[in-house]
Symmetry: C2
Subunit: 254 residues, 2 copies
Amino acid sequence: MRLKMTVAYDGTDFSGFQSQPRCRTVQDTLEEVLSRVADHPVQVTASGRTDAGVHAQGQVIHWDTDSPLPVDRWVRVTNHILPKDVLIRSAEEVKADFHARKDARWKWYRYTWDTRRVPDLFLRRYTTHWPHSLDVNAMAEAGRHLVGTHDFTSFSAARAQVSHRVRSLYECRIRCPQHGVVALDVVGDGFLYNMVRIIAGTLADVGGGKIAADSIPAILEARKREAAGRTLPPEGLTLMRVGYGSDQERNFLS
Amino acid sequence: MRLKMTVAYDGTDFSGFQSQPRCRTVQDTLEEVLSRVADHPVQVTASGRTDAGVHAQGQVIHWDTDSPLPVDRWVRVTNHILPKDVLIRSAEEVKADFHARKDARWKWYRYTWDTRRVPDLFLRRYTTHWPHSLDVNAMAEAGRHLVGTHDFTSFSAARAQVSHRVRSLYECRIRCPQHGVVALDVVGDGFLYNMVRIIAGTLADVGGGKIAADSIPAILEARKREAAGRTLPPEGLTLMRVGYGSDQERNFLS
């Protein structure tokens, strides 16, 4: 049978999701523990890789097993063995043709800044320290210009080799969940390499007065990496949720 | 001159505050970095030790230096060198007779439980996973019986060697800061060894229906460790603040 699992991880001490020799990765950690529980070699397929240092609340994986363990016991048994920085949040049996990457309809990412001069130590692993004031209204305005279907070449790492750089952004919102903390939520049908971190860097430059909010259309139009702002570090980035349902079932940012 | 510093730390990867040979401790980490910045050997005195795994938002230390570095630069320079799990929150020059331990008038500790079946990965370092329902009203009622000046022998580790076990608890409150998370805040003039973790364990037993809320006076009266509940693990415990002002200046739980 095929299992779909929702996985959370603290990316701080991982060299990213994808398996690599001589590195601690989320994929290798999951495969090692699931293989022990299933009692056969396990290979997992994720909705997509995340870079070193990037976190997940709701990464989705699928894998196949003939283990007789009931589905509802997978969560408890696997979490008991996994290290403290990886957690299976849920498991369910899915049809044999479900595919965590190919069937993903949308992804929701969050980028979080701690703008206090001295950061909150307990948020430090999961936020980017940014001890500068941010004009959140200007950032929100800039974000609205990004929503829609665009060629996002300007917001993609120059070294990315992708021929088709048109993506749809469904949501791009700015919130202040607590005093001094600013969060960017983006939902889209797919993201180019480093795209969320470049959007975050560009909006932070808007928030700091270095880029005008209404210059976003021209930045998109330029289709050049140099037109947008800097790439921000990975620690502020979290993959929140991956959606597989119909468009009507989209339940973004909730 | 004498400096007073407020220090936060994530206790997860420390063998407690107090210096110990062949262990990573908060005191050794602070003294090593402050000695480098001050350019002379530094010994710090804290308001009190915290055990292995216990966190702090507002530990207070004092130490002496003749370094010419202006007080307001100590925070930035020291934080630049400290590892990510220790942070100087503030620094100020104090009178030469200020003493972080002897002058402390009260301490505020918080104990936090994550009661969800699958915990929040991003709270996991700072909460105790307790996948059982807790009756917070019963816990609050039990907590009110603990407020006041009592002999806390029943709430002290049996191996503690202290002749005088009378302490005053000023506040003992239960809150639910978010769905599934329960927090206990206690403020007192001093705490015996493991006292907060035994109070937390006793209140968790009250919340789970194993101990009646109105049996707290009898537990205090017994003056025996066995009368109270279990000692809970350190990861849920945080030293929030240490007070030095007059009683009128007490600004608890804010």
